[in-house]
Symmetry: C2
Subunit: 248 residues, 2 copies
DNA sequence: CGGCTGCTTGAAATGAGTCAACATAGGTGG
DNA sequence: CCACCTATGTTGACTCATTTCAAGCAGCCG
C-alpha cells in the first residue's frame, strides 16, 4: 500500500526499477528521458481506477480512449462471437498492459473484466501519441510492445493448433509461473485468480478435461493443487510435458 | 506488368489508389503527406525482391531489418516449435505486410517462405522509424497496422478455440474470399496457392480432414473444388457454417 | 518409366466432449 | 445459527469428431 502511494509521485520511474520485465516498464526504457519527460509520462498515467470482482473495464465495440496497465489484481479480456460464445484471450497480471488491440480503429475488439479486486492505471491514448512525438524512444517502445503482443498471440496459436489438452495445461502453468517470477513473486507457489472453467475456456477445452488433467498432474506429483492454490513440484518435468507437442 | 513498372515511380501513391484496403496502402493514409514526404516514402520501398517457389524470405531467429509488403504471389509465415513442429501462422496475399512480429527485439519470431513466384517490397525498419519522426500521421498508421495484426490473431484464436473442423474450413474460404475481393479480385472464384496439407496445418487439423470436408462442401453444393481452383457457389450458407460456432 | 508429392477415401482407434451425479464452499435470508 | 441455494469442482460412463493407419490414384519430373 505504501508502495502504491509512492507511485503517485513517479509511477514510471518506480516501475522501471521494481519490475523490469513489465510491459509498462518497457515503455520507459529509453535512457534519454529527461526529468521533464518523465514527469510528463507520470502525469499521463496518474489516473487510477479500482475495480471490484466482475467489474467491467471496457466492452467490445466501445470507443477506445485509453491503454490500461494492471497495478494489482487480474483482468481477463475476451471476445464475444456472433453466436454469443465467449473466448478468453488473455489474463493480465500486474505490470501488463491491455487495450493495445483498440489502437487500430479506436474501437475495442474485446471486453475486459476484473477477476478480483484490481487496480489499473489509465493512459490516455491521445496524450501518449503526443508524448511519442516529443520523446523519440517512446514511440519505438510502443511499437515494440505491440510487436511483442503479436508474438505472444502467435505462440498461443501454436499452442492451440499443435498441442493436446495435457500440453496446453502444462504450458499454462509454466507460463503463469515465469510471468509471476518476472514480477518478483514465487514461481512455484501461487494462487490462481481464475476458475477452472475460465482456464478451460482460455485453452479451448472443457472444464471437465481441465479438472481431470489437474488430477492427473497431481497423481504424477508434478503439481500440488488445492482449489485455487497451486504448487509446482517438478517444474522441469512439467515443462517437458508442455514442450513435447502433440505430433511428435 | 506495366503496372508494376509504373510503381517504380510512385509505389505508395499508386497503391493508395488501387488497393484501398491493403495494409501497405493504409500506411500512407494521412492526407498531410507532402510531395516531398511521399517521395521519401517511395524511396524507402523502392527495393524489390523476386522469390521463386519455396525461396526463403527470412528465417525465425534471424536479425530483422525489414518489413515486407507482398506485391504479387503469396508468402506463408510459420513458427517452428522446440520439437521441430511447424505451425503456419498466416498466408500473406498481395498488398499485405509481413515482418511486424520482428519489431519487438528485432529478431524474426517466424520464418517466411514463398508459396509461388512472389514479388515483395522491402522497407528498411530504421528508415521507416526515421520517417515516422518527420511525418506525424505515419507513426500512428504504423501503430494501427500493428494493432490490426493483433486483432487478426485474436480472431484466429477464437476460431481455433471454439470451432470444429467444418467451421474452420468455411471460415478459411470466406476469409480468403473477402481478402481477394478487397484487392479487386473475384470473391467467388479463385486459385489456391497453398496445398491441402498447408491449409490443414494452418487450421490445426489433418490433411485427411480437410480433404473430407471439402468433399462434403462439394456434395452440399457450397463450393466447387477441382484441385487448386475453388468456386464458392453459396457464399451465404458457407458463411453461416462458419458462424455457427461449435458450442451453440 | 519409376518415383515422388499431393489428394482422396475407407476402416479402426482414441482423445476429448457430453451428460449426469455428487461434493463442497460461500452467500443469503429466515 | 441453521437451512437453502447457487457456483464451482470432481469423477464416471458413454459418445462422437477427428486422428491414425493404410491403400490407391493422378499428375509431374528427371
Amino acid at each position: 500500500m505504501a508502495k502504491i502511494h509512492n507511485l503517485k509521485q513517479h509511477s514510471l520511474s518506480e516501475l522501471r526499477n521494481t519490475c523490469k520485465n513489465c510491459s509498462l516498464a518497457k515503455l520507459c526504457l529509453p535512457r534519454k528521458l529527461s526529468d521533464e519527460d518523465l514527469e510528463h509520462l507520470d502525469e499521463v498515467i496518474q489516473t487510477r481506477k479500482t475495480l471490484q470482482k466482475n467489474d467491467v473495464l471496457f466492452e467490445q465495440g466501445q470507443h477506445s480512449r485509453y491503454l490500461y496497465a494492471v497495478r494489482s489484481g487480474t483482468i481477463r479480456t475476451f471476445t464475444t462471437a456472433k453466436n454469443g460464445d465467449e473466448q478468453i484471450l488473455s489474463f493480465h497480471l500486474p505490470g501488463e498492459l491491455l487495450g493495445l488491440d483498440g489502437m487500430d480503429n479506436e474501437i475495442h475488439s474485446c471486453s475486459a473484466i476484473a477477476l478480483d479486486t484490481t487496480i489499473v492505471c489509465e493512459l490516455r491514448v491521445t496524450e501518449l501519441h503526443n508524448l511519442c512525438l516529443r520523446i523519440e524512444g517512446l514511440q519505438r517502445q510502443l511499437i515494440r510492445l505491440l510487436s511483442d503482443e503479436i508474438c505472444k498471440d502467435q505462440n498461443m496459436l501454436l499452442l492451440m493448433a499443435r498441442s493436446n489438452a495435457e500440453q496446453k495445461l502444462a504450458s499454462f502453468f509454466m507460463n503463469l509461473s515465469t510471468r509471476l517470477q518476472q514480477r518478483g513473486q514465487s514461481p512455484n507457489e501461487f494462487e490462481l485468480s481464475m476458475t477452472r472453467c475460465q482456464i478451460a475456456n482460455y485453452l479451448g477445452i472443457t472444464d471437465e478435461t481441465v479438472s481431470r488433467i489437474i488430477t492427473k498432474f497431481r497423481q504424477q506429483r508434478l503439481i500440488q493443487a488445492d482449489k485455487k492454490s497451486i504448487k509446482i513440484l517438478n517444474a522441469k518435468r512439467l515443462q517437458s510435458v508442455a514442450d513435447s507437442y502433440y505430433h511428435q
